[in-house]
Symmetry: C2
C-alpha cells in the first residue's frame, strides 16, 4: 500500500499509513463525512496518533491534498518537457496531453490507489466551500497559469481571458472522467466504459482542443 523508500527503516510508518487511510476515507465521504476514528482504524493505528502527527483533521486533509497535487503537477511538467523535447513545435494537443493524461491516468491507476486521490481531487476542485477553494488555489493555481500562458502561445488569436475559460473547461472535463461514477456506462448501456483510459483521454483531448480553438475563432457569434 504505502510505498516507502527505506526498506527496513520505517521512520514514520504510522504517519504514512494515516495519510493513505485518510486519502481513502476523505475521497469516499468528503471532509465532513469522514471521522478521525475511521481514518485511524483504516490505518491500523491509534486514534491519538493522528493529532500527534498532523495536529488536526483539517491539517491532515490539507497534507493529503498537497502530497498528491505535488506529484500530479510534477508529472505534468515532466511529461510536457518530454513531449517538447521530441517535438519543439508547441501544439494545443501536446499541451492537453501533458495536462490531462497525468490526472486522468492517475484516476485509473488501480495499482497505486490513484482512484482514491482522483475522487478526493473531484471533491476539492469541484467544491465551492472555502476550504476547497483555498486548497485548489494553493495547489493548482501555479500550474494553471503555466498552461494558460502556453495555451495563448499555441492557439493563434486566443486571448488570455479565453485561455482561462478554456483551461477551466478542460479541468472540469478531466474531473468528470476522474470521478468514475459509472454514469457514462449507465447512460450508454455499457458502451462507454469507465475503465478505458486511453479512449477517455483521447476523447477529452479531442473535445477540449476543438473547444479551445472555437473560443478563439468563433467568439461572440452563434
Amino acid at each position: 500500500m504505502a510505498s516507502q523508500m527505506t526498506a527496513l527503516d520505517s521512520p514514520q510508518e504510522a504517519a504514512e499509513s494515516l495519510l493513505d487511510a485518510a486519502e481513502a476515507q476523505f475521497s469516499e465521504n468528503g471532509f465532513h463525512g469522514t471521522t478521525t476514528r475511521a481514518i485511524a482504524a483504516g490505518a491500523g493505528v491509534n486514534a491519538a496518533l493522528l493529532h500527534y502527527y498532523f495536529g488536526s483533521k483539517e491539517q491532515l486533509f490539507a497534507t493529503v491534498v498537497e502530497r498528491r497535487a505535488a506529484e500530479i503537477n510534477a508529472r505534468r511538467r515532466a511529461l510536457l518537457a518530454d513531449l517538447l523535447a521530441r517535438n519543439p513545435a508547441l501544439s494545443l494537443e501536446t499541451l492537453l496531453e501533458a495536462f490531462l493524461r497525468p490526472t486522468i491516468e492517475f484516476g485509473h491507476d488501480t495499482t497505486r490507489d490513484g482512484q482514491r486521490y482522483a475522487r478526493l481531487l473531484v471533491h476539492v476542485a469541484a467544491g465551492t466551500d472555502e476550504r476547497s477553494r483555498r486548497l485548489t488555489a494553493q495547489n493548482y493555481n501555479a500550474i494553471a497559469q503555466e498552461f494558460i500562458a502556453r495555451f495563448v502561445d499555441a492557439v493563434p488569436g486566443l486571448t488570455h481571458r479565453e485561455a482561462v475559460r478554456g483551461y477551466l473547461f478542460a479541468v472540469s472535463i478531466a474531473l468528470s472522467l476522474m470521478g468514475r461514477t459509472g454514469r457514462a456506462g449507465d447512460l450508454s448501456d455499457g458502451a462507454c466504459r469507465d475503465d478505458d483510459v486511453d479512449q477517455a483521454i483521447e476523447e477529452a483531448k479531442i473535445f477540449a482542443a476543438a473547444g479551445i480553438r472555437a473560443l478563439a475563432t468563433r467568439r461572440y457569434d452563434t
Copy 2:
C-alpha cells in the same frame, strides 16, 4: 412523503421555510457539513419540525434536490420546445442553448436564490458518493437521455456513445460555471467575470458545440 392535501391558506409554511433554509445550508457545506439544527435555525422554526415534515435529514436533502431538478428540467423542455417552434431545424447550438441556459442562468439568478441550488447541484452532480449518484440518476437520467438522443440526430456521424461522452462533458462545463467560485476571475486578473451570464453561456455553447462535433469527425486520430 408526509404531505397532506389540506387546502388551507399558507399551508405548511414551516415546511417551505425548512426547504429554503436546507437548500442554503446544504449548498454551502454539503450533506455532512450541514446540521439539522442549523437548518431549523435558518428557517426560524423549531428543530423538531424538520423530522415532523420530512422524517429525516436524508429525506429532506432528497426533497430539496427533487424540487429544483423538476423546475430546471421543465425549463429545459419548455425552452427546447420554444426554440424548435421558431426554427424546426434541429441544430446542436439550439440543443445546447436549451440545455445549458436554464442551469447556468439559474445559478446566476440572484433574485431567486438560484445560486443556492446551483451549488447544491454541483455537490450532487459532481459527487462520487452513493447518495449523490443515486440522486443524480433519479433526477437527471431521463432528461439526459432526451438530449443525448437529440444530439445524435443533430450531428451527422455522431454515435450514441460519443453523444453520451459529449453530454457528460457539457454537463461538467455547466457545473464549473454554476459553482461560481471566483477562480476564473483570480486566474484572469478579473478579466473573466463570474457574473457575466450571457458571456459564460455563450462560451460554454461555443466550447461544447465544437467539442461534440469534433468527437464525431475527429475520432481516434490526434
